[in-house]
Structure formats: structure tokens, C-alpha cells
């Protein structure tokens, strides 16, 4: 069951204010507590991380100081249950017969290595949090998601939209990055902050794959999910290079001129993410070379920028990227220019 401390990270402040105004006494109390906690969300996350660490300390090897992931993959056996299933593969164990188990295990390893080797980040919470994957979740399930509490769920696909969802490294990187975002800017999964949250997952999911394949920005395909789309979504789920062109249903805008207002999909979080995605692509390709080294570094520093809040939108993030590029590479540097060009391209004023 979710606990209040985790929920506090998720519920939009507007909804909480609404509850404080209109709820019954018990609801008002709960919401007020949550609001109070929400004000100090960075402290809260540190406390949450400490609790997770304390609960899971038994799962760690002695003297683990970072550099190697703690991974466990559970087989949900096509059940809808959210309780952890049978352990299918855990730390140090050899390959098993089930490809979904191995793909999740190896994908977690690649994603961990990317964040560790490139940014020095020790797992989702930067404190060695174990990576827990639930494969074969539900039946013909065409989705993968992060539950906000340390678990990544993967379906087997419906054969139309998706095949086995573990078969894509950028999608595994995408899901784990939702965890990283939760422990950093903790962007509310609704509207523009939600679209930014989604974009972070596409950016670092794509970089995870580029890093594993040792691909430069020029060589990368900048596609998301091309390894796992079924016939209906061919050839890919999203394109950071050309948002709106990945498949026949792709409605992603490539600039603020085409921002989509909708109630579906938590306010179009997977649609408007095309805007910051394309800004990153533009910055990374203008700089050239390995995208994780400079563009990726700036985006990572910006996700951790002190001024970023759970409700921050595109403009606040754009400003953070300029600030971080100036701090790391200097005002007037080619990096600052490239960041500026990225946001200009998508018509976000940085």
C-alpha cells in the first residue's frame, strides 16, 4: 500500500488546496499534513530514501559503496497483483531461460552504469536504492510503468501496440529515470510539469541506450521504443529528432506553437513532452559528439537545480539549463549557445 510520505510527492498542490477548502475534517487534516510536508519536499525525499535504505539494507552486500547495482527481478506470472511475485533473478545470479527476466536485469544494469559512470549517481536515490523489476505483469499488458515506490512494472505486450516491453533499453532507462526525477525535482505528473517529467525519462532513456551503444549524437536514431512497438505503432513510439512523425498516431508537437491542451493522459504528458525532447535533441546535435558528455550533463545538473520545483514547467527548466550551462562551461561558451538554440527552436523563452 502507498504511504502518505510517498503520496505527498505525487498529489498536485491545487488538489490539496481544494481538499483543505472542501474536504471533511479528516481529509482536511490529511491534506494539510501533506501540504506542510510538500513545502519541504527535498527533506521529505531524503527521509524517504533513508527509510527505503533502512528497509532494504539486508539486501545489500557488505560495504557496498556504489558502482554496482542491486537488482531483483520478480515474475508476476501474468497476475494483476501488485505484491511482489516469485524472485526470478537477483544479484550476481546467472542468466535464466526467460528473456524478459534477463532483459530487465541487464537493462537495469546498463541504466545503473550510465548514471554511475557518467554522473556519479548511485542508483535512483543516489544512495544505492535496489532496483526492483516486476515482469510478466497482468495479461497481454501493453505498458510499462514506475509505481513511485521503487518498482518497475513490465507487461508482455498485446502484440498490436507493443511486444514484450523489457526488450527496449531506452524504455527501461525511461522507467528508471522516472524514479530519478522523483528524487530530484519531483515534477508533478500532470500538465506541463508532467510533460517535463516525461521528457526527462525520454532524454535519459535515450542517453542510456546511446551510452551502451557508444553512439554519438550524429549516429543516434533519437527514437524511443523502436525495439518494442507492434504493428500499430511502427516504426517507433516517439522521435526526439522529429516529434509527431514516429507513427501514425503520433501527435507530439515540436514547438510551443502546437502545444496540446487535453484532459486525457494526465493533461497530455506524453504529447507535449515532444517540446522539451526536441530542445534537447537540438542542443545535443549542435554540440555534436557524445550527447551525454555536455548536453546530458547540463540536463542532469538542471534536473537537480535548486530552483526547480515540483510544479516547474518548460520555462523554469529552460532557465535552469542556461544557468547550469553557464556555471559549468562559462557564459558565452558554445554549450550555452547550444542550450539557447535548443529552446529557441521549440519557442520556449529561456
Amino acid at each position: 500500500m502507498p504511504t502518505r510520505r510517498a503520496i505527498a510527492c505525487i498529489v498536485p498542490p491545487d488538489l490539496l488546496r481544494d481538499i483543505i477548502r472542501n474536504g471533511n475534517e479528516e481529509e482536511r487534516g490529511a491534506a494539510a499534513d501533506t501540504m506542510a510536508v510538500d513545502q519541504t519536499f527535498r527533506t521529505l525525499r531524503a527521509a524517504f530514501a533513508a527509510t527505503v535504505a533502512a528497509n532494504q539494507v539486508a539486501m545489500r552486500p557488505m560495504g557496498g559503496m556504489g558502482g554496482s547495482p542491486q537488482r531483483t527481478i520478480y515474475d508476476q506470472k501474468n497476475s494483476n497483483a501488485i505484491a511482489l511475485g516469485t524472485v526470478a533473478r537477483t544479484g550476481g545470479q546467472k542468466k535464466v531461460k526467460d528473456p524478459a527476466v534477463n532483459e530487465a536485469y541487464d537493462g537495469f544494469g546498463s541504466t545503473y552504469r550510465f548514471f554511475w559512470e557518467v554522473f556519479g549517481r548511485n542508483s535512483i536515490d543516489s544512495a544505492g536504492m535496489p532496483l526492483l523489476g516486476l515482469v510478466h505483469y497482468s495479461t497481454n499488458y501493453a505498458n510499462a510503468f514506475w509505481d513511485g515506490q521503487g518498482h518497475m512494472f513490465f507487461g508482455d505486450g498485446d502484440g498490436q501496440l507493443f511486444i514484450r516491453l523489457t526488450a527496449s533499453l531506452d524504455v527501461i532507462g525511461h522507467e528508471l529515470t522516472h524514479g530519478v526525477t522523483q528524487f530530484e525535482a519531483n515534477l508533478v505528473y500532470q500538465g506541463q510539469s508532467g510533460a517535463l517529467n516525461e521528457s526527462m525519462s525520454d532524454v535519459f532513456g535515450s542517453l542510456t541506450k546511446q551510452y551502451a551503444d557508444k553512439q554519438t549524437a550524429e549516429a543516434a536514431d533519437w527514437l524511443i521504443g523502436n525495439d518494442i512497438v507492434g504493428p500499430a505503432l511502427q516504426p517507433a513510439l516517439r522521435s526526439m529528432k522529429a516529434p509527431g512523425t514516429a507513427n501514425q498516431y503520433d501527435k507530439q508537437p515540436a514547438s510551443m506553437d502546437d502545444f496540446v491542451n487535453t484532459a486525457a493522459d494526465n493533461g497530455g504528458v506524453h504529447i507535449n513532452s515532444g517540446i522539451p525532447n526536441h530542445a534537447f535533441y537540438t542542443t545535443a546535435t549542435q554540440l555534436g559528439g557524445n550527447a551525454w558528455e555536455r548536453a546530458g550533463r547540463i540536463w542532469y545538473d538542471s534536473l537537480r537545480d535548486e530552483k526547480m520545483k515540483p510544479t516547474s514547467g518548460f520555462k523554469a527548466f529552460a532557465r535552469a539549463t542556461v544557468r547550469q550551462a553557464e556555471t559549468r562551461f562559462g557564459a558565452g561558451s558554445p554549450e550555452v549557445d547550444a542550450v539557447q538554440a535548443g529552446w529557441d527552436k521549440v519557442k520556449v523563452k529561456a
Binding site: 503520496i7 505525487i10 498529489v11 525511461h174 522516472h178
Partner: protein, 102 residues
């Protein structure tokens, strides 16, 4: 008029809206019965009231399901994966395979 049910599944990793709009009279009898039984059990008030206390989600990439029912009286609920009641799950089992991209 028969009972009309419209399911919209949005969000998910793909962010693609899938819709199934059915008249229960047009479904195979076994499926119609399953949906009718589910509708009889579903609490159209509580899921919404539950939203007013800190509720789970929406978790990143989890599906959002909007279910609208019209049998002379209109009512609707919205739920998110993975916390789905058994009766809603039973309805989804019938309608999700019928859903097509919007």
C-alpha cells in the same frame, strides 16, 4: 435503449488514447453479462470521493481509464493502474481488447 458503455484508456508509456464504445445488446451474451455484473458492483461515487484524500498516483506511465455509462442515467468514473477494484478489472477484461486508437 440498451446500456451504453464507453471506455477510454489514455496515458501509458505510449500516451495513446484507446476507445471502446459498446451497446451491451451488441456484445456476445457472456461478455454482456460480465459487464452487467461488473456495473452492478461498481461504486461510481467512491472512486471519486477517494480522489479527495491523498490517492495513489497517477504513477508515471500508468494507464488512466475513464469509464462512462449511460442506461438512461449517465455516470462515470476515472481510475488509474495498478490499483483497480476487481469489478472494474472485470469490465476492463471485456472492453480493453475491443478498444481502438482514438
Amino acid at each position: 435503449m440498451g446500456t451504453r458503455v464507453r471506455l477510454t484508456r489514455s496515458g501509458g508509456l505510449a500516451g495513446l488514447s484507446m476507445v471502446a464504445a459498446v451497446d451491451l445488446d451488441e456484445l456476445p451474451p457472456a461478455s454482456a453479462e460480465k459487464v452487467e455484473a461488473a456495473l452492478a458492483e461498481m461504486d461510481f461515487e467512491r472512486p471519486r470521493r477517494r480522489r479527495t484524500v491523498p490517492a495513489p498516483g497517477p504513477w508515471p506511465d500508468a494507464f488512466q481509464y475513464d469509464i462512462e455509462v449511460d442506461d438512461g442515467e449517465k455516470r462515470s468514473i476515472t481510475v488509474h493502474d495498478p490499483v483497480i477494484s476487481p469489478e472494474v478489472r472485470a469490465l476492463l477484461d471485456v472492453l480493453v481488447p475491443l478498444a481502438e486508437p482514438e
